[in-house]
Amino acid sequence: MTASRQALQSMLDQLDALQIEADRCAATVRAARRLNRGSALLAASVLMDSAVEHYRGNFTNRAMYTPLLISVLTLAISAHGTTDRRPASHRVRHGIAVAAAATGLAGTAFHIRNVLKRPGRLDWQNLFYGAPVGAPMAILLAGLLGSAAEWVRDTPNHMPPRLFGIPAGRALAALSGLGLLCTSGEAALLHFRGAFHNRAMFAPVTLPPIGAALLLNAAVAPKCRERWLTRVWLQLIMLMGLTGVGFHAWGIHRAMGGWRNWSQNVVDGPPLPAPPSFTGLALAGLAALGLLRDHEDA
């Protein structure tokens, strides 16, 4: 009797273990797909933003087509990844994600070169109106999130997911926190250029840094199951990124001719696709929180 009960118990334990394994596996896939979605939002933002801005710059350098191409590819792999429920990395997806990250680095170098060759070099005029130094960061982040998605997805069943040798949840929390900080820096620069003429322009320079601090705290702090404040704050930033599009649409309306003159004002007015970058990064932050919760040791 006791023996059979013990056997039953051990069978149940094994089933439990299997269930936990499966949950873990599902959790890594879930996190990976969330990362794919964050990457997709960033890539979409890059696609539209660089299309408008590089069109404005007449594509004077042929390299200016690169972010368009690479962000389309990043969108494609993100869509593929989002629909893919297999717990294994995908070589092409990963390759394109790495290429996107590399494009971000190269783009930053290009933009810095453009600023440095203008009279005045690294002055406010060129930071405001030269090639935006912070902008290629978005495709770098899209690439990094895409790569992270592959790494997390590829985690062997019995192992907690890791990125760069760090538990994946923590690494991702740090990455999305830093991304939020940088993107907020860019918004600060450009909203300063606009003299913060509308009070709403303070939102993307105040909410994201707080979200970044919460995420960086999550990256280094001892384990904690409920991070409800961080979660709510990131959802707030997601919402802010989407309402930002509305505010920028309002900004276009305030230019001469408003939306009737859309062909000029969409190009020269506040960039419509820029604010959703925040939504993409907040989504990545939520994925990090999910990993942290599902893998206590992650």
Partner: protein, 563 residues
């Protein structure tokens, strides 16, 4: 077939033909065809302040005095435009903004009067000014004592510094984060505009020659403000901004003045200031709608700029004041001081398209602040963006091109790059405004304007032309030539000072002779400095308004306190 819309036709009635500021309403400059309510005063009821002229001086003062609770009526000889309706992208059409009434211009170096130094519109010449909003160098307020030329101002630069800040805020000046010259100033309310290729050429030349350059602080919006749109870099700035980005008196001080209870009357030409037996101003005769009117006032302010201001004072003679009002010093009309406006032009290999954006986006004030030079005074120079008609005119008159050579030169328009100074000329008593025998359309004696350069003026011009030529050579411009004869801005015909024998008004812009007669425009400048005067005129107007409030509170508006 498009339908004729009569209400639209009525809305666009010719603002030059019929006054708009009457029947208790004024045109709304921010809405096509719009109106705003405006208070109306009876002519028989003396208002606290009757201001002649509504430009940088009069418009600003009207606003500040109305806000302080005084009853204010402003007169302007020009029309009241709605820029959104009335301004075209057409240089010839926009010459309607200039004061082109008959005047006699004479002397060894007669001034070209019109686009560069006058305005006939509500808002005055700020409606078509280049928006360059620079502060004086502090030393210029004591030019005689510290720099050895001209005359000292009766106002301390530190006091001016706070009024400059007040005006910069009021106009939301778009300026650089840090300005390379002079004492610290507060952050400009709006950020500087993007530099066009002409401005970048200036910057490059300065860097090659080792002098500092800067984005020019400009009175045009780099971000939305209220109902005004941000600048769209249309380039028609000096022919009237049709988007309201330009922060002229017409779209800043004047709507505020009307909202605060001032009444402004357009198409109203002041002909004569009436003075009573006791020697006090009691009102102004003005011509409007084919009739002469008389508005009573407790104080009269003349703000007609440096030709019309002395003209009105000289035209208002009485038995008691046979030489004109406020003229016991004999200085009304004297010390007319303009600014040198010479240029160097060349061709760039790159496409410049200098007409894109505001014309003077970058400048250097190096020679305003560096005293190692062989002349008194200083100059700044700015990047240029002449519109095609003006440019063809310049080539024809200043360079003497005509026919095929002119056509060929115009083909290089997109590659033209130029630098132009605003240079300080020396105040000279013999440069003056007097009255001629001829009469204008109102039957008033017209102004006779005499001008001659002095040796110092010529040395300054030579220095500037030489330096700007070097700057163009440094950026490999070809076909460089110098435009040697041009002037801009008029000041100084009713100078302020501390001594009634050597000045017309005191530091408060109050005439020494008639305590309730004030002069508030560029006429009061004892020296002109090497920067555009509009910011200083507006700062002086803000100061005058503050002083009037203080004097009124002490009961000294009626009578000058004995000193």
């Amino acid at each position: 077939m498009p339908m004729q819309r009569p209400e639209r036709t009525a809305m666009l009635a010719d603002p030059l033909a019929e006054p708009r500021g009457k029947d208790g309403r004024a045109p709304d400059v921010f809405r096509p065809g719009g109106w705003v309510p405006m208070r109306q005063y009876r002519e028989s009821e003396p208002v606290d302040f009757l201001i002649v002229g509504t430009g940088a001086g009069g418009g600003t003062l009207a606003c500040r005095l109305a806000e302080a609770g005084f009853s204010v009526v402003g007169l302007d000889a020009g029309p009241w435009f709605r820029p959104l309706d009335d301004f075209a992208s057409d240089e010839a059409e926009q010459s309607k903004l200039y004061w082109t009434d008959d005047r006699i211009s004479t002397g060894a170096n007669p001034l070209q009067l019109g686009s560069n130094n006058s305005g006939k519109a509500v808002g005055g010449s700020t409606v078509h000014f280049a928006m360059v909003s620079l502060r004086f160098r502090p030393e210029w307020f004591r030019a005689r004592t510290l720099l050895g030329y001209g005359a000292d101002w009766p106002i301390d630069w530190r006091e001016m510094w706070s009024y400059y800040a007040e005006v910069e805020q009021a106009l939301k000046i778009a300026g650089p984060i840090s300005y390379p010259w002079g004492p610290k100033r507060p952050r400009y309310p709006y950020r500087a505009h993007e530099l066009n290729a002409a401005a970048l050429a200036l910057a490059e030349g300065c860097e090659k020659l080792g002098v500092a350059w800067s984005e020019t602080p400009l009175a045009t919006l780099s971000a939305p403000r209220g109902l005004a749109h941000p600048c769209v870099y249309r380039g028609f700035c000096v022919t009237g901004c049709s988007t309201n980005a330009k922060q002229s008196a017409l779209v800043t001080w004047i709507p505020h003045a009307v909202a605060a209870g001032a009444e402004l009357r357009d198409l109203s030409m002041a002909g004569r200031i009436e003075v009573d037996a006791a020697g006090r101003a009691v009102g102004v005769h003005y011509f409007r709608e084919d009739a002469w009117h008389f508005q009573q006032a407790r104080n009269v302010v003349v703000a007609g700029y440096a030709i019309e201001t002395p003209r009105l004072l000289l035209n208002s003679t009485t038995d008691r004041y046979p030489d004109g009002l406020a003229n016991s010093s004999g200085l009304v009309g004297r010390y007319l001081t303009v600014q040198a406006n010479q240029a160097a032009w060349g061709l760039s290999k790159r496409e410049i398209r200098s007409y894109k954006g505001p014309p003077s986006l970058a400048l250097t004030e190096h020679w305003n602040y560096d005293d190692r030079k062989d002349f008194f005074g200083g100059y700044c120079y700015m990047s240029q963006g002449p519109l095609p008609q003006l440019w063809a005119n310049t080539l024809a008159t200043a360079r003497g091109l005509w026919g095929a050579p002119l056509m060929e030169a115009m083909e290089n328009y997109n590659h033209q790059v130029g630098l132009k100074i605003v240079g300080e000329m020396m105040p000279q008593a013999n440069n003056r405004v007097t009255l001629a025998d001829d009469k204008d359309q109102y039957g008033l004696p017209i102004a006779r304007v005499e001008y001659a350069w002095c040796d110092n003026d010529r040395r300054l011009i030579d220095h500037a032309l030489d330096f700007m030529t070097q700057a163009l050579q440094a950026i490999d411009a070809s076909d460089i030539w110098q435009q040697t004869d041009d002037t801009c801005h008029i000041n100084g015909t009713a100078r302020m000072g501390i001594d009634p024998r050597t000045s017309v008004v005191d530091a408060d812009c109050r005439s020494w002779d008639i305590p309730n007669l004030w002069i508030c425009d560029g006429s009061v400048f004892p020296t002109v400095g090497g920067v555009n005067p509009s910011l200083t005129i507006q700062a002086i107007a803000c100061r005058t308004a503050n002083r009037i409030r203080a004097l009124a509170a002490r009961g000294e508006l009626e009578r000058r306190a004995h000193v």
